[in-house]
Symmetry: none
Subunit: 224 residues, 4 copies
Amino acid sequence: MTDFPAKLLAGYRNFMSGRYSDERERYRVLAETGQNPHTLLIACCDSRAAPETIFDCGPGELFVVRNVANMVPPFEPDGQFHATSAALEYAVEVLEIDNIVVMGHGRCGGIRAALDPSMSPLSPGDFIGRWMALVKPAAEQIQSNEFMTQAERQTALERVSIRNSIANLETFPFVKKRGEKGELSVHGAWFDISSGELWIMDSKGDFVRPDLTELPVQAEQASA
Amino acid sequence: MTDFPAKLLAGYRNFMSGRYSDERERYRVLAETGQNPHTLLIACCDSRAAPETIFDCGPGELFVVRNVANMVPPFEPDGQFHATSAALEYAVEVLEIDNIVVMGHGRCGGIRAALDPSMSPLSPGDFIGRWMALVKPAAEQIQSNEFMTQAERQTALERVSIRNSIANLETFPFVKKRGEKGELSVHGAWFDISSGELWIMDSKGDFVRPDLTELPVQAEQASA
Amino acid sequence: MTDFPAKLLAGYRNFMSGRYSDERERYRVLAETGQNPHTLLIACCDSRAAPETIFDCGPGELFVVRNVANMVPPFEPDGQFHATSAALEYAVEVLEIDNIVVMGHGRCGGIRAALDPSMSPLSPGDFIGRWMALVKPAAEQIQSNEFMTQAERQTALERVSIRNSIANLETFPFVKKRGEKGELSVHGAWFDISSGELWIMDSKGDFVRPDLTELPVQAEQASA
Amino acid sequence: MTDFPAKLLAGYRNFMSGRYSDERERYRVLAETGQNPHTLLIACCDSRAAPETIFDCGPGELFVVRNVANMVPPFEPDGQFHATSAALEYAVEVLEIDNIVVMGHGRCGGIRAALDPSMSPLSPGDFIGRWMALVKPAAEQIQSNEFMTQAERQTALERVSIRNSIANLETFPFVKKRGEKGELSVHGAWFDISSGELWIMDSKGDFVRPDLTELPVQAEQASA
């Protein structure tokens, strides 16, 4: 008997008798031929905003980066470890994905931390403090607005963070190049945990709710 | 009409009429009271190995980091941006998660790249090359072993990478401290995309298949 | 033959043969006994946001003030003409209304003017400039935020204006007094012209979408 | 659950499933392209005299000011807050409306207050008293007429107030200028709540009932 969390093993047992059992052949083919995901999805670590759940995606569809507050740092070819930049490079240059989606969400803890000027480092390394410095100029400007409520400031910075990540994406030469060739498109999305609403970013950077009634009905959605 | 990928919007529509509709109240409560996930799951970006799918987890259960080859860098309080260390710090110090699981998987593209000595940088920044340097000593030694097959070398390095991440986890003072107090436990797992098999790491670092028949039946699995 | 706009006369003819014909007795009684509206509604002049339409209210229900950007000035007993303060005084002290609702809306032209630092006076009297000075401090702070889009700034100030009006309402002694006695409650609402969504202000000043499914079914809604 | 008046939420629900549902596209276009109302309508706050109801107007048609007794103050470029003058300036200079209609009505509470010499201030600020001072000379002369009944005095002052507002409109240079160019026409109307009758002001300032049978039949009334 292992001390591996029993809850996770029970979940795995459900997966094997349920979804895997239904999609056994799909997993086998995906293992043989390799993955060919259509989308790189950059999302937050938050336990309430799993992209495969929200977009009802099956195996093979989404190449997923998850970090705190769904951020992309700017292009920094400095020889350091860059988890997000490495995943981006692999998704664009090897997998040749068609879309990049940066998905933020409501009530994001990283964003909340960025808006809290009184927050002290969580540990001597202050990793969250450093990481959230990626949106620090916006965080300071938004936090100093005395006319917005705290919740409004939070939503505002969540959306700024998505636009900021998208702007940083464009600083990567390989993203820019494939985008200019029309082989790659970049999108933003924001998920409201409480209501389940999805808002998507339009060409002006604003977030609007998509009209789902206009979608063509797809016989089988979950094909990669 | 937006140019947001129609496939994703169709998936979102499925989510809203299906899972969200069933779990509306759970999402609402999770939004109100905040997340309280039991596990930090460090997984690969690979589109075939989504942890929520494999462990059949609902909203609120898993705080998820996904980067190429599910890696944790060593503790480096150098003031740079560290996506993974920041998420780790937040999960342990703010969310006080009970478990950390590092999950690798078969046919990992990052691991394959690390084992390919002829591979040239994917882009001038060589982000994947730099990132995979985290397992470079092991990769070189395994690749030079002429008695293993390429598939054996691949699986071997996938598992080394999991043990390496776990060893790096222990270099973070806050992980070590909470582990010593018995408030945090750290685990490894490896998922075989082709067969659906899950292997878990035992106390010696070996990967074994758990006996699922020993599991207590849980009335309702998906509670956070 | 008059030069009164034919469009309006045709509309009036529709009213007489339609709604008035159906509600003849109600109009007669309302004329005899006087009005007894339950709500003072302070709304914008905008042609797309008529409160009787949005709340499907019949004659006798809403006592309505409409000015640009649905504003309430602060209590200024200075002997000048105060259109809004006079209506407020009459609604509270004579009609003893139960609720005050300040309703703003999206794409408000007055708010847009307040956010446009380059706007010159519309006429030598600069009446709009002076009127919108009621939200000037907030307008300046929001306009200077370079990380929000223009549409986000617009929505932010529309909501600030509602909270500002509500704060100003509380400066009127008779509003405060009846509120403290529990005889009067004050609410905020924001209407999205494009989507038809109504957002209402919660106790923290945030705007949220009400759950209409929780409403009791009312046999006849439109009774005063 | 919110404490927002349930009656209003129920009305909104009716609106969404009824009128909005029928006119969704019209609202969307009005949001996109902006409003272009043909008429500025200056009406009373009275709950029994909503102009959109009486003229059966749809979204986008009427830019509406509502204050007590449908009054327009004289042109006073004194740097103070002027709700009505600001709306007038915006309607004429920005929206370039074609018509201004001042609509009074029977049994107006503001007019009744103006005719009551024994009335004490409703509150220490005496806002209604100050506001109704706009028709004070007429109110005093009419009230002192011992040969008219009280109901006759009331109707007389209601109509004087309309003419007074129209005279004050002409003191605004931008109204005068556009009127002289033939781009703007100004009208008066009086609505009898009890009977539903609409009386319109003729060129001599008298109120007469329009002959609706002369109206051309309009295929679709509600176009802006």
